[in-house]
Each structure stands twice: as C-alpha cells, then as structure tokens.
Amino acid sequence: MKPINDNDLEQLSAYIDGELSDSERRFFQKRLANDEALRACCERAWIASSVLKSQPFQLMPADSAERICAQCDAPSVRFRQPLRLVASFGALALVAALGYQLLLPSDTAPPTLAQQSEARPAAVAAEPGPRVAKTGKPAAAAVSVTGSGIRESAGPVQDTDLRVADGNDPSQFELNESTRAKSWPKSGQDMGDYVVRHNEMIGANANSGLVSYAQILAEPEQDPSTPAGQDKELDTQ
C-alpha cells in the first residue's frame, strides 16, 4: 500500500464522476479492493459528492451578464482597454456557454431502449396540464425534474421546464446512468407517500428485513388526511 498522491486523487475524482474508460475503471476498482486507504478516501469523496449533489440547484441571476459587464466597464487602473474588452467577451462567452448548457432541451439526449419500439399513444402535447391527479395525490410533475435538469426555476426558463411532457414513450428515457446521476438533481417531496407504501410492502413481503424496517422509520409519517379506505391493514395476496 503506497501513500495516496495527486494522481490517485485525480483518478478517484474521475472514477466517481464516471469519466474513466472501462479498462481504467476495472483497474481502479482492483486497486480499491486492495488498497484500504484509497478505499476510505473513495468513501469520503463519495459522501462529499452526495452531499454536494443534494444541494438545491440555483440558476444564475437573470441580470448576471449585465452585472459582469458593468464591473468590466468600471474604470480600472490595472486593465488597459484591449484587456478589458477581452475580459468582457470572455465573461460573456462563459455566461452564454453556461446558459446554453442549462437550457439545452432534453431531446438532444442519446436514443435508448431500441427494443421497446412497440406502438404507443401519440406523444403528449406540451402543456402545463393539471398538476394534481384525480386520486388527490400531487402529480409528480410538481416535484419532477426536467430534461434540462432544472427544477422550480424562475422566469422564462420555467416554460422550458414544461417541455418535459413532450411524450409518453418510455423508450425515450436515457439509459446512461452516469449521465442521469449528474444531470438530474434530487427531488421527491411528493414521492414520500409512494416510498412509504413501497417500504411497508417490502417489510411485509419481500424479505428485505432490517434495512426496510429502518427505512420505514426513517421516512416521515404519511399524511393524516389519507382516505380511510387507504388506512387499513395491508391487503396483500
């Protein structure tokens, strides 16, 4: 076991981000299996990564470009005119690139699930539509994330968000796990009801044992307004 160096950390970062090739990943996994220190480092990095990913996503303020330009235009004794122009263009290019990445529509995603080419209903029209289902449960769209990976964004971006309802064919979903994990922020307040029911049924049927019982306790209590018909002993068959 050798001490962890910068190269190891770089490899570790690439591994966690899913940027290693298959052979590099296999090699790194073998190293992880044999190197306790590196494994511990990997676990710490993974926890840090999870915490960072769980932070709420925030868009840059709409007037950020103007504010940057205003800063650039401010009199400065250090920068001469040509340098100031380059800096301004650089900042604008950066903002534009960021904006392009954020607003990139989901239909640029790679095609997937080719085998699921069964006939399906026509694509659902893009419309905000009712956000609450007939069952009384909040529709998942209210908590969902969009193809652009932006949630509850403000201003004109919100219209782009609604384009998530651009089809109901599951074959259009991406299959690339690493892309998904990075481009879709975590959400799911309204998923709680489903998760509670999921854990309860697993606890009663699926032998998942200690972990599922712990999860039942870890989830917040179900909404007390649950209809009486739903609040009874599980009718499993």
């Binding site: 209903p121 109901n168 999921h198 697993i202 032998n207 019982y213 712990a214």
Partner: protein, 310 residues
C-alpha cells in the same frame, strides 16, 4: 506381516459393516461429504446468516446512510422459543419506534391509528434475503477478504449482480457468529447507493437453539403486465383506486403504482437511494420506483404501458 494385514482388513470391514447396518445414513452422509467438497465458500458464509440470526440475541446501534441522508437507530433483537422480536428506535430526527414480532410489525404511527402490517413471509429472519442469495441466479456470491466492523472481525462477501438491471451488495459477516454487521448496496460503477452498518453491537446466544426453515421466498403472483427480467410479482394491494404491485428478484424490489390521473407527464424522481419514474397519458398514471437503476424502472413502465396498449 500377517498381523498388519489382519488389522488392515479389519479397518476396511468396519465402515462396510456399519454401512450395511444403516445404508441410508451412510449414503446421506456420503452425499453431504461430496456436496461439502463442491460448495462455494461464499455460499457457506451466506447460509450461516439465518442460523446466526435465529440463535443469537443482540443489541446495538446501526447507522443507515442513503445518499446524503444519515440516520441512526438502536436495534434490539431477541429470540424467544423460536419467535423473532425486533425493536428499532430512531436516534436521530423524530423519535419513532418499530416492533416486529412473528408475523406482524407495527410502527408507533401505525399503533396510534390502530393498525398493523402482516408479514406474509413470517418465518423469514431479518436477513433472510441474503441467506438465500447464493441460490439466486441473478447474482453471484464470492468471498472478498477480511474486515472489522464494530470492533469485531468480519468476512467480506460480495453479491454481485449478473446484469445492469439490479444493484450489487457487499456484506461484512461476523466471523464468530455469521451475523451481517455491515451491508453495502453498490451501483453498477461500484458507487455506494446505501449502507447500513452496526457501530456497536453486543451479541449473546439465544436461550433455545433452532434451525432455520428452508423457504423459497414469497409466493409468486400472476403478473398482469409483461415480466421484467428476473423480477416476479410477489404482492399487490389496492388503496383508494391506486393499484400497487410489488416485484422482487429476491434481493431488489420495485413498486409499480397504477392509478387514474388526468395529468400528462413524464418525469424522473430521486429520493436518497430510491429512484422513481412517472409516466401519465391523461387517463392513467404509472409510477415505478425502487432501489434499482433507472433503466430497470423504464422497463417496468414499458411493460405496463405495453399491456395497456394490448
């Protein structure tokens, strides 16, 4: 020389005469001996789990980490006359408690409402799913070195998924008793999806020793939709118009909810280790969720949608 030949002959005849007296026992023990020779070491470790749970009482503290969420609980597991009682209390967040005894479990929230949940696989212990993992064709078990958890020496066993539709697991089994002290769920890239680990544990033998019942797991029900590779429908219920189907491959579980909805939507959700997909066509909403890759959930939605189209 004659004396040595006589001794040799006697030694040869002794087992033969015993075999003649009890041919079935001899055959069975021979079969066991051959099976032991060919058994996978990992399988032997996994098969110890149920026996370990049934024959030990233990108290301790577990930490459950899922994504960025970390919760801790006290665990009190007691065996009385072959009946398993598990008591879990939260140490973080809201004070809550769950008791599992025999074929039922109840949380304090359920108790306030006067309800409980019946466990269909009552004879299963709280780690039975791993005990049977070596027989599960969708996973492959292998030994993976030694470790130390909660101050106890452990044997590490990998339960690797055979395809990308499910997650893999890594167990740290107590060398002395065989109890699982740490369980990791790993995605296809080896990233940790979830882990539960004992940080403290005190183990003592149960007053009565018993043998685990060999159980094939939950009964499989008729699936109204197309099957997804490796997953069988094991339970279903109907709550207020929302039909809930639970599928399992023995280790991983997926819930599919089918309910009326006027919304049109297609969305993705994530809550700690649980992934979820929603698909609604203006009449019916399908929600698939579970600790499986999104690709698996897509297949469940496609399977349900396919049946709808039929």
């Amino acid at each position: 020389m004659t004396k040595w030949r006589a001794i040799g002959l006697l030694l040869l005849l002794t087992p033969l005469s015993q075999a003649h007296a009890e041919p079935k026992d001899w055959l069975d023990s021979g079969k066991d001996w051959v099976q032991q020779l060919w058994r996978n070491d990992a399988q032997q470790w996994l098969e110890r789990i149920d026996t370990a749970v049934l024959n030990h009482n233990y108290k301790g503290v577990i930490v459950l980490a899922r994504g960025a969420a970390v919760e801790s609980f006290t665990v009190n597991h007691q065996m009385n006359n072959g009946v398993e009682t598990l008591r879990l209390k939260t140490l973080s967040g809201e004070p809550r408690e769950l008791v599992k005894q025999g074929g039922k479990f109840q949380t304090d929230a359920q108790a306030r409402k006067g309800r409980f949940s019946t466990i269909s696989a009552a004879e299963q212990t709280i780690f039975s799913q791993f005990s049977h993992a070596a027989d599960n064709k969708w996973y492959k078990a292998s030994l993976a070195g030694k470790g130390r958890v909660a101050g106890r020496s452990t044997q590490v066993v990998d339960i690797k998924a055979e395809d990308k539709l499910r997650y893999s697991h890594r167990l740290w089994l107590d060398e002395e008793t065989g109890l699982p002290l740490r369980v990791l769920t790993l995605d296809e890239r080896g990233g940790i999806v979830e882990q539960v680990v004992f940080t403290q544990i005190a183990v003592s033998p149960a007053p009565q020793q018993s043998k685990p019942k060999r159980n094939a797991g939950p009964k499989t029900l008729d699936n109204p939709y197309k099957d997804v590779k490796g997953f069988k429908l094991i339970a279903q219920e109907n709550r207020g118009g929302s039909r809930h189907y639970l599928y399992s491959d023995g280790l991983s579980s997926v819930s599919l909810y089918v309910e009326p909805s006027s919304a049109r939507e297609k969305a993705q959700m994530k809550r700690d280790a649980v992934n979820g997909l929603v698909l609604a066509d203006g009449k019916t909403r399908y929600v698939a969720l579970g600790k499986v890759p999104f690709g698996t959930l897509e297949r469940f939605l496609a399977a349900a949608g396919g049946a709808l189209a039929d």
